[in-house]
């Protein structure tokens, strides 16, 4: 490495310097579980307590690692970045929190076959409409994913990452070079609305939805955010992008196979009359989302147009027309109202699909709404 540089001792000097710097840093705990956390955070307290329990109590058997294969390099088999952690009662590094089921309308999942409707007889009678699953629009190429990128509660980008062959129409980078950690990366054009990264056999385009909708222009997101996102993605295999912190893949195709990463296992839409009055879709998720995941899902379903939202919100709005609420740990309703959104929300109700007509005319009482 150093043969290309002037100082033949450069690498050894850098190595020594780094170890000096590292040695000068004194970790607060020096590897020994302590009883007094340095920052008082619940997470630290929890972890230290767990470690102390293991070390002092000698209950190592609880966490003994059975059946591990240590014969190969760890690097080759470990994930690039950490997988999403389990829901926790304490904030993680991004301030994410688990959602308390007690704060939802229903603390348990709704019975199968439940639909959402607006219990307002001034509206046309509701009827079960088409099945609506997100993820049906994979993107512009066989290897293409739609992503929401979050920085805590803040949406950085709702966009597309697509890998295209070198001879496609999209392979026309003409913009200036950009530093994203990959040689040859450029903006897609002089407007700097998307970034093109060389990959094996082609190019990767990283950009917001608008670039693919309008065919150019921009920038449609903060330029620094676009560079950060492209830097994080780099040449990472496209099916591993969802492992990056803050990246939520909500639709796409990899190798030509459509994927549905949001984990929506079912979705039923109810329409009041013709399109234009009120439509509601009740989504069943595979797993309870965390607060940040809920915001990401909201941005995915509501086209990145969420009104101001904060970590911990279970009800989100967008543009005065859309309302999204997590009504049970795994049930999510999206209400689309062309008018009178607040009134529709007030009369949001739930019933078995088979009982929908009776519930709407008042002969069957739907489950009561819990007060927030």
């Amino acid at each position: 490495m150093s043969d290309m540089l002037n100082d033949p001792d450069l690498e050894s000097r850098v190595r020594r310097a780094m170890h000096s710097i590292a040695d000068a840093h004194q970790p607060s705990s020096s590897g020994q579980p302590v009883t007094q956390p340095t920052d008082g955070s619940p997470r630290r307290t929890w972890l230290i307590a767990a470690a102390t329990l293991l070390v002092v109590g000698g209950v190592v058997a609880v966490f003994a690692v059975a059946g591990r294969d240590t014969s190969t390099s760890p690097v080759a088999t470990e994930p690039l970045v950490t997988a999403p952690s389990e829901p926790s009662d304490t904030p993680d590094a991004d301030g994410d929190v688990a959602i308390d089921p007690a704060a939802l309308r229903f603390s348990e999942p709704l019975p199968d076959g439940t639909v959402a409707f607006v219990n307002d007889t001034s509206l046309p009678a509701p009827g079960v409409a088409e099945r609506g699953i997100v993820g049906s629009d994979p993107g512009p190429s066989p290897d293409s994913i739609r992503v929401v990128v979050m920085d805590g509660p803040r949406l950085l980008m709702r966009g597309i990452i697509t890998d295209v062959a070198a001879d496609t129409d999209l392979d026309r980078p003409i913009g200036p070079a950009v530093e994203v950690g990959v040689d040859g990366a450029t903006y897609i054009d002089a407007d700097e609305g998307a970034i093109v990264i060389p990959i094996d056999g082609g190019r990767r385009i990283v950009g917001p939805d608008e670039i693919f909708t309008f065919g150019g222009g921009g920038p449609y997101i903060e330029p620094d955010a676009l560079v950060e996102i492209a830097t994080a993605v780099g040449q990472l295999p496209i099916d591993r992008v969802d492992q990056l912190p803050g990246f939520f893949v909500y639709a796409g195709s990899v190798g030509g196979e459509t994927i549905d990463p949001l984990g929506v296992v079912d979705a039923t839409t109810v329409q009041h009359g013709v399109v234009g009055y009120s439509g509601l879709t009740l989504y069943r998720l595979a797993e309870p989302p965390t607060s940040v995941e809920l915001l990401a899902i909201g941005n995915a379903l509501l086209r990145g147009e969420l009104d101001e939202a904060a970590i911990g919100d279970i009800a989100l709005t967008a543009g005065g027309q859309f309302y999204l609420e997590l009504v049970s740990p795994v049930d999510l309703v999206v209400l689309n109202a062309s008018a009178d959104l607040d009134q529709r929300i007030e009369k949001l109700d739930f019933a078995a699909a088979a009982d929908l007509a009776a519930a709407f005319d008042g002969s069957v009482t739907a489950p009561p709404r819990l007060e927030p």
Partner: protein, 159 residues
């Protein structure tokens, strides 16, 4: 070669408690090199250990997993931070560093994230280029390029 110990594997009978006691300091120092912040380093190392703890039964190589978590955590911290400069008390703590170390510390803080990562993984964690490529999600050729460019930047500071 000075090995920080992060690279070696863990035996089947190791407990998480032993892992924590053995690895926390090394993970914190790795995070410190990546962030330049002592406070952030401890928090990132703690978070990495927490993630290992939660997945202790599912992961085969907790040390490598923890290292990846530290890299990921350092990136997240870098996105959130608003102040790059260290606090005065931190600068004082490192006053005893020699000229090369001070120059490298300053240069690391100004390097692009990926260049900093590959340099730290190469010259502190002593990873091979192929392993760094896996760790940062880049091709080996890209890693070599990043190392070369990063070294060129460091050389300017060390001159």
């Amino acid at each position: 070669m000075v090995n920080d110990g992060i690279e070696s594997t863990t035996t089947r009978d190791d407990s998480f408690g032993a892992f924590y006691a053995d690895r926390f300091a090394a993970l914190s120092r790795l995070a410190f090199l990546l962030t330049g912040s002592s406070e952030a380093a401890d928090e990132i190392a703690q978070e990495a250990c927490e993630q290992v703890f939660r997945r202790w039964d599912d992961i085969d190589y907790p040390r490598a997993y923890a290292r990846s978590a530290v890299i990921s955590g350092s990136r997240s911290w870098g996105r959130r931070r608003t102040v790059r400069e260290s606090a005065p008390s931190e600068r004082a703590r490192f006053a005893e560093l020699d000229g090369d170390a001070i120059a490298v510390r300053v240069a690391l803080a100004d390097l692009p994230e990926r260049q900093r990562e590959v340099l730290v993984l190469r010259y502190y964690a002593d990873l091979k280029v192929d392993d760094i490529a896996v760790e940062v999600g880049a091709r080996p050729g890209t890693v070599k390029s990043l190392i070369h460019r990063g070294l060129a930047r460091l050389q300017e500071e060390l001159a």
